[in-house]
Symmetry: C2
């Protein structure tokens, strides 16, 4: 039988809302998510895990406790566990996130921008 | 201070040999690798882990025990643990691999195409 690949652009085409990561695949106990980002998020920390950002479209700055990194399409960065960070999208950004199952977008900060778990595209 | 992103194309520009994955980043106990593929590899299995392929350039078919999947740029596939597979690149393919630290490219098959561990680009 033929299996279907997971097409990143096709998954991103299925939703418009920013800051709402969607699980699209699983790798052992990790989840691969796509997300749209627009504007500034909130400062937060993931105490128990690193978090990988891979930009597919647009320009994303991740402010860190002691500096920042700017990512364009085809560039990735791993925020180390325990490092406070704040993603800032310069216009609309499309990105892949990879992290262990169950990680919440606002980490230990919580608050109104915490996204619900969504694996409807997986 | 400004941190530098990991640029996938820049990492791939630093080597030419196919079937020699290079670690470019780490995510907890996982490794992010880039690899060039060209032609047919060998059938092998990773008994203890899933393996993620994300194609950046070219066309990659992964033959599986009971079928196959074909990936183009921007498409990914996770080969489940224990599933025998054989990557076949139709011309040159550039791809990202993600798997736990220490996974060997030929899995339990071994043999002459087993690549040495290379994190010189990390």
């Amino acid at each position: 039988m033929d299996y279907l690949p997971v097409d990143l652009a096709q998954k991103l085409s299925q939703f418009a809302e920013p800051w709402a990561p969607k699980v699209i695949a699983r790798l052992n106990d990790y989840e691969i998510k796509v997300v749209r980002l627009d504007g500034e998020f909130v400062w937060h920390t993931h105490d128990d895990t690193d978090e990988l950002f891979l930009v597919l479209h647009g320009r994303l700055t991740i402010k860190l406790a002691d500096g920042e990194v700017t990512l364009r399409a085809g560039q990735l960065f791993v925020v180390p566990r325990g490092v406070q960070h704040c993603p800032v999208a310069d216009g609309e950004v499309q990105a892949v996130l990879i992290e262990p199952r169950g990680v919440v977008n606002t980490g230990s900060a919580g608050g109104p921008r915490t996204a619900g778990y969504d694996d409807s595209l997986a």
